[in-house]
Symmetry: C2
Subunit: 321 residues, 2 copies
């Protein structure tokens, strides 16, 4: 079988690729194990091919419907659609966010529909679909009320994936990811970029600015946990998902203050001293609209798991990076 990862050069895309190459197989929409003999990584920049002959790196614009029709053929049994314009960038450039987060997602689903072979499609969504007046614990049946264009575009993608699945065009799964922390590398334009920066930079001996209050509660998942969840979500039996293809992935609810405290335990007070708090209203407005926790009963019943605690997330980051 052929597997396609959009955003394949990105942080999650590259890790997922490595995990899939190591794993060597995935189940198809009939639940049958299939050997991965081709793994296509499409992105605007070229990803690493890991020197593996199964990998094909494609650079291109995923809002180009012709490119998608070429990439999705009858052998493409699994698609991980990770490409996205992150929250801060989609708020700054409305057209760009609409083109990648909405139009490209739809074009990808239509490429599948036109082939008619009903591939598995894993679509990553986000805490950002929630907003407005939220209960302390967001439930699976809590209404979406996104307060960012990114969140609105992700919520629209969820609706499309559910409808295309209901109609039998794809076998879709929407995985709502908690905020991923600790991400390696540089800060990005996500409003939640600080959730990695305030840990990563001090561990690297660098200064970090935290644009939100220590009281802000975040719903977090580690990179390792995210990759495990993407694969576990793919492997779920379609009919077991019932009338909704959308799953709120398990995470842990941690305040920024507790994150800093965990950093102190792992790396000492000198690491904590590298963090400065300087509130940024534009970032606060977006991240304050996100839930700090959601009910994970459904996800757990489906066999999906969270990290044990934030300290173990920091230790995993140190081990991996």
């Amino acid at each position: 079988m052929k597997v396609l990862i959009t955003g394949g050069a990105g942080f999650l895309g590259q890790r997922l690729a490595r995990a899939l190459l190591k794993r060597g197989q995935l189940s198809d929409s009939q639940g049958q194990p299939r050997t991965i003999d081709e793994l296509v990584l499409v992105d605007v920049v070229a990803g690493n091919d890991f020197g593996d002959p199964r990998v094909r790196v494609v650079t291109g614009d995923i809002s180009d419907a012709a490119l998608l029709r070429e990439l999705v053929d009858e052998r493409t049994q699994s698609i991980f659609h990770l490409a996205a314009i992150v929250s801060g960038a989609a708020e700054a450039d409305f057209d760009l966010g609409m083109r990648i987060n909405l139009d490209a997602s739809r074009a990808l689903l239509d490429a599948c529909r036109l082939r008619g072979h009903r591939p598995k499609v894993v679509f990553t969504s986000s805490v950002a679909v929630y907003g407005g007046k939220l209960p302390a614990l967001v439930r699976d049946d809590t209404a979406l009320n996104p307060q960012s264009s990114y969140g609105a575009q992700k919520a629209i993608g969820e609706l499309l994936l559910n409808d295309y699945s209901r109609r039998g065009f794809v076998d879709g799964r929407v995985l709502r990811l908690p905020t991923i922390s600790v991400r390696p590398g540089k800060p990005n334009k996500a409003a939640s970029s600080f959730a990695s920066g305030i840990i990563r930079e001090p561990l690297n001996g660098e200064a970090a600015v935290c644009p939100v209050s220590p009281d802000l509660r975040l719903w977090l998942l580690s990179p390792r946990g995210a990759i495990e969840s993407l694969i576990a979500g793919h492997e779920l039996d379609g009919p077991a998902l019932g009338m909704s293809r959308t799953i709120n992935l398990p995470g842990i609810s941690v305040s920024v203050g507790e994150m800093v405290e965990a950093l102190g335990k792992v790396a000492g007070p000198e690491a904590v001293a590298r963090i400065t708090f300087a509130p940024d209203p534009a970032i606060e407005r977006i991240v304050n609209s996100w839930p700090g926790a959601w009910d994970t009963a459904r996800a757990k019943a489906l066999g999906l798991v969270a990290d044990p605690d934030f300290e173990s997330i920091i230790r995993a980051f140190i081990a991996d990076e």
Copy 2:
């Protein structure tokens, strides 16, 4: 000011046009009363212009972005976006539903965005955005889980209208309409077409087939109530809507059996005898996914009202038609 009604030749569009011509004014987004000196009715077929010099009838395809850019100018302070492909038709023709219910709605919002004058936009949504496992009483914060393409497309339209409003591109209001009954005229391709047919046809001395069980509970609003709600929803003060532009309009919760009983009271047993029950699984699957009632506290607090009962709806239909 200029007012634009899409779907202006349709049943609601024509009644709304008549009501607006009689009313003569609407408030703009600053809450200031403005005289309606032009009323544009756009639809695929030509609507009635009521012999009124203020009316301009335009026939065209509202998914044509160039047409929309021409229709929406700086004087267009109010838009009622009623044009839609109904539930049964959007289920039968996926592409048509996507083009009109999604692409045209977005093109209309983009026409407003490009002008930059932030008009009021009233978007009609539907009970069909709900579905799946629903509480007995749907609340404002109950998640959308549409089980039809029409419902998914309307839910996407809601998200767009909310985001375009949040960003200041339009001053939008999403009015989720109950099922409208009793509609005049002929049956249409809406899955809920029977909700008018089982009353209208017997009153006209004709036979009617009811494709659902008498136990099915519907959430209903009369045509008069719908027009009043559209205008009242337009007149609401934008900031009063807070973080959600979407309002579940008040309706009445009536079972099909109770509708038939009310028909008997108004028109006698001979009218009731004209109804035959013949379940249609395709229709039942769609309408059974809709809520039979929702919480109207927010709408009522905003001053929106429902019909008193179904008997009065039948009597109003007889009076009007």
